[in-house]
Symmetry: C2
Subunit: 151 residues, 2 copies
């Protein structure tokens, strides 16, 4: 509707998008280390995020989510347990399974990470009309679908 009549610059927009993709992680790491969780790497935070707060998840479920082998998952969890963000509990129903739960500190990190991403999303939708929001929502969806199609 009321967009300014600038011309589309594919190359420039592509460049910005590449910049966003290749730098989110690094920015997240920086933002993290300025805050109170400087003992955590971004990867560790993503593990905490995958464990999540509201459903019990097993080690292998989390491993699948973040595309890690079981052995890498074991050491990742070791670190997080060591640092006091996660607890291991053997499942009672199937004693092979390790259920992962966030400690209090882990839940604080989880919420902070969620907030970080809410901030990103918010910055995208800021000052947009209903129509524009719709466009954007659709674009993000097709980007996700495209990514999945590449796998």
């Amino acid at each position: 509707m009321n967009e300014p009549a600038t011309t589309f610059n594919f190359e420039e927009t592509n460049r910005e998008l590449v910049e966003v993709f290749t730098n989110v992680m690094w920015v997240e790491e920086r933002a993290l280390n300025k805050g109170p969780f400087s003992d955590l790497s971004v990867k560790e935070v993503h593990t905490i995020d995958a464990i999540s707060m509201y459903e019990q998840k097993s080690a292998s479920e989390v491993a699948k989510l973040i595309h890690l082998t079981p052995s890498a998952m074991t050491t990742a969890i070791d670190r997080l347990v060591e640092k006091g963000y996660v607890e291991r509990c053997r499942s009672k129903r199937d004693r092979r399974v390790v259920e992962l739960v966030l400690t209090h500190a882990g839940r604080v990190v989880y919420r902070a990470h969620q907030e970080f991403h809410r901030g990103l999303t918010h910055s995208l939708f800021e000052d947009m009309s209903a129509n524009q929001i719709n466009t954007l929502q659709r674009a993000i969806h097709s980007l996700k679908i495209y990514l999945v199609s590449l796998i």
Copy 2:
């Protein structure tokens, strides 16, 4: 203009965006390993991308671009030289400086990586009206600005 009148679901869109951010790298890695450059990791490809084809760049310039310490840069370049994608040349004007240049293979990877990202960008803008393209362009720009503001 002609967007369907769906309601905005911030949580759902945020989730998709997080999924995109946290999985691009992994998808890129997968896409890469299916292709002819399975001897390269995504990080190595990003180093090749930062070296770029059209301007001579020094080792420290590239290190800054991808946020690596000089020492990490040295070993990253070692690998890429080893694998035949990059050449080291001592600058003639200042013999402390290492100028990096892509070999033929390196340039092929560079172009393939550019194409990968063009594909992502294209998938975002597909089937959009001029107005919608404008909205999207603006959103990406503000996202980039927001990221920079976090540093």
